[in-house]
Subunit: 500 residues, 2 copies
């Protein structure tokens, strides 16, 4: 661990040239169960294990305790005397001291701890402990988000998120993207279409024409996207990204929507080709899947729980392939020529429904041994937001924009991106066409209102650029094979629900 | 770059054992100005540079353009004919093609670009461009946060943040801490003391006893701290951390306060000693300063702008020293025996004022060549929140808690942490003493209200633990030598101000 650590710090320390490993002091000397299982303890006759009892099995002469600490799906098996095991029950926090010996049943576990001393750190009354060792439905567990991550597979999902954050941080760092902190409280709602949460508190200031007496003197919202702010930062510091909480006050009560979720957004500057942007999407997903595919701890643990595991493996393999691309117009043709009965008829210039997205993902993303995400590009201008760049050429005279969605089975759309309209005049015309500002040659600052600053970005030194937003929770749910996004978010928020 | 990259991914790829570098495809082939200045271009006769004009100087026979792209404080100098330079002005986005040749004035720059071709990508009308090359006050620049990061030193501050995030991500990853995403919309206000922002939107549901008709059916707030949620996660997955936006609706209009700021919080589990927690604080700050101190690009750039630069160097050196520790009681004695005239008289059991914190930081954190942050520990129980663990021994019979603040000059408190009360009964008593719940043997669920889940954590398998919160923006301001925190946050929010 320390060795890996030193190497890692040296490398990330390229952020600061010449950086050396400085983290030689351990934070605490505790060995996690994952490390005990992975590495032979330095002195096998003197091992200290701390963790929580997952289950206990009493025989006449001895007792077997299975303990975990969240670092590993696999438990550590401990052998105790019945007397030592007396006050132990599922959920109890313990410290066991003993010796680490080869197991007589190596198929079950290679080693087991022969316990000499037991400390009960925190008891768990079996009469009230809500997570007894038995099957609980996801719905039941969601009523206690503060407890459910104690279930081993939920700890694995926490570690998946952590590893995924590390992997994308590394990838963007390596590629020279600056990580930024975009604001959460904002004045505009980006696409003008989302349902937003209001933020505020009374300042009890005097109400005047320019001051409504609230904390910020005007209505403010929780951000629905960091895109507009990222565009400003990209013009300042080059390619940028952020992994930031994002909010929608949508009343959707589905397996794919949350009111609060993490979005990974990036902007690529000084580029005229959408390929550059789509390549960053591939790199991002590949950064997360590569390790899972080649057998990480988290990857192995997810496979142990997956049914069928082959589909999970296919998804992970698919993450590092070249993603197939199809235009929206071609996609509509594929849907129209299919014999599948859709609830909504697929037709040009209406959005793709979830059923359409699933069909496209399944039809075009299947290779012999991988499930590959599918890019659908060049949607009709009429159904996309004002800031997208119109395509240079149009197919059959139909007006499209340079944009893409990335589709996968089950989770459907996990990424949306586009080239941005970087020219002042066309941006104004697009805002007018979308009835965001009144018609006329050039709007006043007042007419532009909360988007004045965004229009400003096109006035001085504007350059071609594009970017995307990736639903980080959806990606994790897809890669973990978890059907409901509420399972990969520890404290999920949706309409009517905000527990803890 | 690609070489560093491959190594970096291999290392962070330990998240996923066996991970290899997969990011071989560049996102776009653009060379940043930092790379051109650092590395000799592969073919010096055919160099393409994109960026923004910082200044232009016309002579009779030739013109000199200084251009930047946010990747480097140092500009790139380009030589043009007066005809080529005709339409160029400060802020213009350009693409220059030419050859990279040694400069006749190597003291000013080692090489310069002899321009053959000029593309104007995005013009900038000098009559309206608001960032002409001259001094602008911070106050003026804050009126246009979307533009001010185009100023070279502000780009450096963006890159400092990015590098700092990478450094702490690496450090925590190496030390086996899981990075988590704690919720932003919450039901409780943690310490019960903060002024909170309300979040909501009308759901227009029916109002009943359990449903106030709003989106979440009950009042919700923007988080003031992730601590309580992190404590739940620590019991699930071991040591955890988060770098998360945090909110205070305080009307403070100071150089050290924002309404929206990033807090780095961590919890260390299965530990009974606060030293373990304080060591993580040192590791965190050391991870950021080590590179600055030993001469990173960002470090060198900050020094170029600092006056006096020696104080900056002292702060960076101090980050990797052992931080001195003093108890609150000793600190009060130091203050009382000082000849310094304080506005507020220092006395036991009142909080430390900013003037006291500054004095302690200056008196106890000065070594011969470094300014070292100072830990003040064991504050009186009466002035600290309900969740802090009472100290085992008390000095002079005065009741204290196992807690610490970390103080630095100017920014004052940048970290606060403590051991947490992990025992059920004492926690209940402490909540009662703080009048959060009524007196009595054991409160009902209803009385516990929005803190029921937090109390639950002490019911089953509770273990000793502690943690801290570090004001990430304050740390960056301190390390950058920037007197106002509003300069290190791109889109700062404070009372009455939420621009863009």
């Amino acid at each position: 661990m320390v060795q890996h650590g030193a190497r890692l710090v040296r490398c990330l320390g390229q952020a600061f040239k010449g950086c050396r490993a400085i983290h030689t002091k351990a934070d605490n000397s505790r060995l996690t169960i994952a490390r005990i299982l992975e590495e032979k303890p330095a002195d096998p006759t003197d091992v200290v294990v701390t963790g929580f009892i997952r289950s206990i099995r009493n025989q006449k002469q001895r007792s077997f305790a299975s303990i975990g600490d969240g670092s590993s799906l696999e438990p550590l098996q401990a052998l105790l005397t019945p007397a030592q095991a007396q006050s132990l029950s599922t959920g109890t926090a313990v410290r066991f001291m003993g010796s680490w010996r080869p197991s007589p049943n190596p198929k079950a576990q290679s080693h087991e701890l022969h316990v000499v001393d037991v400390d009960i750190i925190g008891p768990a009354d079996p009469a009230t402990f809500p997570l007894q060792k038995k099957y609980h439905t996801p719905e039941y567990l969601r009523t206690m988000p503060h407890m459910r991550t104690r279930i081993p597979i939920n700890s694995t999902l926490l570690r998946l998120r952590s590893d995924a954050i590390a992997a994308v941080t590394s990838m963007f760092y390596e590629h020279g993207f600056a990580q930024t902190h975009t604001p959460i409280i904002t004045s505009s709602d980006c696409e003008g279409a989302g349902e937003v949460f209001n933020v505020g508190t009374s300042r009890q200031g005097p109400k005047t024409e320019d001051d409504d007496g609230t904390f910020f003197r005007a209505p403010k919202y929780l951000t629905v996207s960091s895109q507009l702010h990222l565009e400003a930062l990209a013009q300042s510091v080059g390619n940028v990204w952020t992994l930031s909480p994002t909010f929608r006050a949508e009343k959707s009560d589905t397996a794919r929507h949350l009111s609060e979720f993490y979005m990974l957004e990036a902007e690529v500057i000084f580029t005229e080709t959408m390929d550059d942007v789509m390549q960053v999407v591939q790199n991002t997903i590949g950064a997360v899947t590569k390790g899972l595919e080649t057998g990480s701890r988290v990857g192995n643990e997810l496979l142990q729980n997956a049914a069928p595991e082959t589909e999970l493996l296919r998804r992970w393999r698919g993450g590092s392939r070249d993603f197939p691309r199809v235009t929206y117009t071609e996609a509509i043709r594929v849907l129209q020529s299919s014999t599948h009965q859709f609830e909504h008829e697929p037709k040009w210039c209406s959005g793709l429904q979830a059923e359409h997205e699933r069909y496209i993902a399944n039809e075009l993303g299947n290779s012999s041994n991988a499930t590959i995400p599918v890019f659908v590009t060049h949607y009709p201008k009429a159904i996309k937001p004002f800031y997208m760049l119109p395509s240079a050429t149009s197919e059959d005279g139909l007006e499209t924009v340079d944009c893409f969605d990335l589709l996968v089975p089950e989770a459907c759309e996990i990424v949306g991106g586009s080239m941005r309209e970087h020219r002042l005049e066309p941006l104004i015309r697009s805002m007018q066409a979308n009835k965001m500002i009144p018609p006329g040659p050039m709007p006043t600052d007042e007419e532009l209102g909360e988007l004045k600053w965004y229009v400003d970005l096109r006035k001085w030194g504007s350059v071609p650029h594009g970017g995307f937003g990736l639903g980080f929770d959806r990606l994790l749910a897809y890669l973990a094979g978890v059907p409901n996004i509420r399972e990969v978010v520890t404290f999920p928020r949706w309409v009517g629900r905000c527990d803890c």
